[in-house]
C-alpha cells in the first residue's frame, strides 16, 4: 500500500477525463432508436449477429480491457455505467468524463446504414449514459464518409449541450484536410464542438502506409503514423486557416512522435511553403493554437521526466488533456499520469486544458458557477 500522495487517486480530483469508452452491449439496445425500415433490416439481414466492435480494438486483445476492469459476467468491457463510475469517475473524483463510443456503425460501407446506426448510438448514449450521470459528456458519432449525412447528424444532436465533440476515426476514407469534409468542420466551429480524432481504422485501406500487417501489434503501433499524416493533412490543406476557431483533439494518438514531427514539419515548410501559401506560420505554431492530445497511452519510458522534455520542446504546457482511456489497459492502479509532475502542469492537464479545448464544457462550468454564486 503506497502512501506517496503523488501516486494516489486523490491527485486527480476535479479532472476532466477526456477519453472514456462506453460499449454498445448489442444491437438490442439500439433497436428502439431505429426506424421501421432499419429494425426490419436488422432482423432480415441478421445485423444483430454482428459484433460491430471496431476491428482496431479486438475484444480479446489484452489492451482492449484492463484485467481488473473486466466485467464479471459476459458483458462487454465498458458496457456498464456503474463499473465506469466505480473504476474511474468516482475513484479519480472526475468533474467530467467524455464518452467516445467506438462502435462499428460509423465504419459501415453503406452510408445510410452507417447514418442509421450513428443516430441510434447517439440517442442511446444520451438516454443510457448522459441522462444517468451529470458528469458525463459525449462525442457525436457520425458517418464521416458521407459529409451531408454527417452534418445532418451533428445538427440533429447538437441542440443537446452535453454533446461537445464530433468523433472521427484517424483512418477513415480520406485524409482529414480534404475540402469535401469541410462542411463537418464548419458545423463544428459554428456549434462550438471540438473535432475528436480517435485511433482506429475503417479499414478502407491498409492500416500501414506500406501494406497490410500480419499482426495486431503492427496495426496498433502504426496508429501514431496515421495521426502524423492526418495532422499534416489538416495543416497543409488549410483547415485551420479556413476555420480559425476550430479545435482538434487527437485521442489515443501517443505523444512522443510530436517531437520529431514538429521538427520535420517546420523545417520542410520553410522550403516548400509556396506550395501551401495559406500555411502562413510554422506548423508547430498552428498546432499549438488548434490541436490537443489526450495523454493515455503515454508512450514514454521516463515518466514525468519525458513528459516535461516534450512540454519543453513543444513550447507549451497547454497541449495535453487528461484521459484514462477506460477500459483500455494503458496503466495499472492509479497511475493514470506519471508521478512527479509539477503541480501547475498537472492542474493544466487535468482541468484547464480540457476546458479550453471544449468550449461547451467551459460554458457549462461557467453556468454552474453562476448558479452557485446566485
Amino acid at each position: 500500500m503506497t502512501t506517496d500522495p503523488s501516486c494516489s487517486a486523490q491527485r486527480f480530483a476535479g479532472a476532466v477525463d477526456c477519453d472514456l469508452h462506453p460499449a454498445v452491449p448489442g444491437m438490442d439496445v439500439l433497436m428502439p432508436y431505429l426506424d421501421d425500415y432499419w429494425r426490419e433490416m436488422v432482423a432480415v439481414r441478421a445485423l444483430d449477429r454482428l459484433n460491430l466492435s471496431l476491428t482496431s480494438y479486438p475484444q480479446n486483445a489484452p489492451l482492449s480491457c484492463r484485467p481488473d476492469w473486466k466485467p464479471a459476467g459476459a458483458g462487454k468491457p465498458g458496457s456498464s455505467l456503474a463499473a465506469m463510475q466505480q473504476h474511474v469517475l468516482d475513484r479519480f473524483q472526475a468533474s467530467f468524463g467524455i464518452l467516445n463510443c467506438l462502435y462499428g456503425g460509423q465504419a459501415m460501407h453503406s452510408e445510410d446504414m452507417a447514418a442509421a446506426l450513428c443516430r441510434a448510438t447517439n440517442d442511446w448514449i444520451r438516454d443510457a449514459w448522459l441522462d444517468r450521470d451529470p458528469r458525463l459528456r459525449a462525442s457525436i458519432i457520425v458517418p464521416a464518409h458521407n459529409t451531408e449525412l454527417a452534418v445532418a447528424e451533428i445538427e440533429r444532436v447538437a441542440g443537446d449541450g452535453r454533446f461537445i465533440q464530433v468523433l472521427l476515426l484517424v483512418s477513415g476514407e480520406l485524409t482529414l484536410g480534404r475540402r469535401q469534409l469541410w462542411p463537418i468542420y464548419a458545423a463544428a466551429e459554428r456549434l462550438g464542438l471540438a473535432i475528436g480524432v480517435h485511433a482506429g481504422s475503417a479499414y478502407r485501406y491498409a492500416p500501414t502506409s506500406v501494406g497490410w500487417p500480419s499482426y495486431f501489434i503492427e496495426d496498433y503501433i502504426a496508429q501514431s503514423g496515421a495521426f502524423e499524416n492526418q495532422l499534416q493533412s489538416l495543416i497543409s490543406e488549410g483547415v485551420f486557416a479556413k476555420f480559425p476557431r476550430l479545435r482538434v483533439v487527437m485521442i489515443e494518438s501517443g505523444l512522443t512522435w510530436l517531437s520529431g514531427f514538429i521538427w520535420r514539419a517546420d523545417k520542410t515548410w520553410k522550403g516548400v511553403r509556396a506550395e501551401v501559401p495559406w500555411v502562413t506560420r510554422a506548423p508547430s505554431d498552428i498546432l499549438r493554437d488548434h490541436v490537443r492530445f489526450t495523454v493515455q497511452p503515454i508512450d514514454d519510458p521516463d515518466e514525468a521526466e519525458g513528459l516535461l522534455r516534450l512540454v519543453d520542446h513543444l513550447k507549451s504546457d497547454e497541449l495535453f488533456l487528461f484521459s484514462t482511456d477506460y477500459p483500455h489497459w494503458q496503466f495499472d492502479g492509479d497511475a493514470a499520469l506519471p508521478p512527479g509532475l509539477p503541480e501547475p502542469l498537472l492542474q493544466k492537464i487535468l482541468r484547464d486544458n480540457p476546458l479550453a479545448a471544449y468550449p461547451r464544457l467551459a460554458a457549462s462550468v461557467r453556468s454552474t458557477e453562476a448558479e452557485v454564486s446566485a
Partner: protein, 137 residues
C-alpha cells in the same frame, strides 16, 4: 570603404543575375525590371550558393485555394532547401526578423563618372560610354 566596379549594366538584363567576387566575397547582382540589388551568395542557413537558386515571385493566400501571385522575379530560393529570400531586402520569407542574407548598397554609374583609380582597379576594361554597377565595400 572602397568602390568596386563589378559589372556593366547591360550584361544583367531584367530578371537575370550575375555573381561577382569582391574582396574574396561572392555577391549576387540582380536586375528587377531596371532596379539593381546585391546580396551575398551565401545562404544564412547552411551556406549554400543562394544566388544560384531559382528566381521566383511571391506566393500568398488569404485562404486555401485563393492563390495570390505578385512581385514576379523578386525572390530567390536557395538551391539546397528552398528557403525564399527577398532580393530587395535580403530577408527570408519564413523568418524575416532573424534569418537574413546580407545585402549590399550599390550604385549605377556612368563610366565617365568613375575615378581613375577605380577604373584601373578592375579586371575588365571600362569605357566612358557604358553604365556600370558599383558596390561600396
Amino acid at each position: 570603404m572602397t568602390r568596386h566596379v563589378v559589372a556593366t549594366v547591360d550584361e544583367i538584363p531584367s530578371g537575370a543575375r550575375k555573381i561577382v567576387e569582391v574582396q574574396g566575397r561572392e555577391i549576387g547582382i540582380f536586375n528587377l525590371e531596371g532596379e539593381f540589388f546585391a546580396i551575398a551568395n551565401r545562404c544564412p542557413h547552411e551556406g549554400a550558393s543562394l544566388c544560384k537558386g531559382r528566381i521566383v515571385g511571391l506566393v500568398e493566400a488569404d485562404e486555401p485555394g485563393a492563390y495570390r501571385y505578385s512581385r514576379r522575379n523578386e525572390l530567390v530560393r536557395c538551391p539546397w532547401h528552398g528557403w525564399e529570400f527577398d532580393i530587395r531586402t535580403g530577408k527570408s520569407w519564413c523568418d524575416p526578423r532573424r534569418t537574413k542574407v546580407r545585402s549590399y548598397d550599390l550604385k549605377l554609374e556612368q563610366g565617365s563618372a568613375l575615378g581613375e583609380e577605380e577604373l584601373r582597379a578592375e579586371t575588365f576594361p571600362v569605357s566612358v560610354e557604358k553604365q556600370y554597377v558599383v558596390i561600396e565595400l
